[in-house]
């Protein structure tokens, strides 16, 4: 096999296995994973999840989302994700009905515990999906947030 072929293979493997696993292949620490343009530009939750984490997550009780049931102002929706899973590599937040569902991805280093909070914009009523990557398995939780005034445009 030529060097160029190998490189193709490595590239393909990196994309297929997801940005995090790919970075893990090259550099021991997943903290160094680069900002994934592909994942942030994806138009559907599944595509974004695939680009970022390389797979689909399954619902789990180990993940919980704290978010308002009704957000009066979609421009500022506080979201807190907590998890009891161990070996947490990342916590990602997806807003299913946003133009680009992936809102934030928290890559946790050694010592970080299963907690991440931020505030996001929501265009309209949508499911908020939190995905925790714990030792390679993807666990998720979702919660519907009703938005009365959108956060995009106004």
């Amino acid at each position: 096999m030529t060097i160029d072929n190998k490189r193709r293979l490595l590239l393909r493997g990196t994309l297929g296995a997801g940005a995090l696993a790919g970075a893990g292949l090259l550099v021991p620490s997943s903290v160094l994973a680069a900002w994934s343009k592909e994942a942030f530009a994806a138009k559907t939750t599944d595509a974004a999840m695939n680009a970022l984490l390389g797979g689909k997550a399954s619902a789990s009780n180990a993940v919980s989302i704290k978010a308002p049931d009704i957000a009066e102002n979609g421009a500022v929706v506080p979201i807190t994700v907590t998890t009891t899973a161990s070996n947490i590599e990342s916590i990602s937040i997806f807003i299913a009905n946003n133009p680009s569902p992936l809102a934030a991805n928290f890559v946790l280093g050694a010592g970080a515990t299963g907690y991440a909070a931020t505030r996001v914009k929501m265009g309209k009523t949508s499911d908020v999906i939190a995905v925790v990557n714990a030792g390679g398995t993807l666990q998720s939780a979702s919660k519907e947030v009703k938005v009365t005034i959108g956060g995009c445009g106004g």
């Binding site: 620490s29 903290v31 994973a33 900002w35 994934s36 942030f40 421009a75 500022v76 929706v77 506080p78 807190t80 807003i95 946003n98 133009p99 680009s100 992936l102 809102a103 934030a104 991805n105 928290f106 890559v107 946790l108 280093g109 050694a110 010592g111 970080a112 515990t113 907690y115 991440a116 909070a117 931020t118 505030r119 996001v120 914009k121 929501m122 956060g151 995009c152 445009g153």
Partner: protein, 102 residues
């Protein structure tokens, strides 16, 4: 003026870091008064370091609210340690701050 406000507090063996960053977080989807789209301008990465180790990197899309807030927890810091938080946006601007863990 510094663009970051940060508070780090240790309780037991866990340190909670909370930060507020001043940033427009323009999505690139909004239209201005002239009907043209306002170009996207948002933070892409926030990194927090403690004792030379990266404890958290947040990768953000434009869906994070204007003047973003973030909070996370980690173990291994004690009162008096320094934590460093820095951000970079999609136009290459950046800022950082160091704070003492309480």
């Amino acid at each position: 003026m510094a663009s970051i406000k940060i508070r780090a507090r240790t309780k037991g063996d866990e340190t909670t870091v909370k930060a507020l960053i001043t940033h427009v977080m323009e999505t690139g989807l909004r239209k201005g008064k002239d009907g043209k789209k306002i170009p996207a301008h948002h933070i892409t990465e926030v990194t927090c370091e403690h004792a030379g180790q990266v404890v958290m990197t947040a990768q953000w899309g434009p869906a994070v609210s204007k003047n973003p807030y973030l909070a996370f927890k980690f173990k291994g810091a004690k009162s008096g340690d320094m934590v460093k938080l820095s951000w970079v946006d999609n136009k290459g601007k950046s800022d950082s701050i160091e704070a003492k863990v309480k």
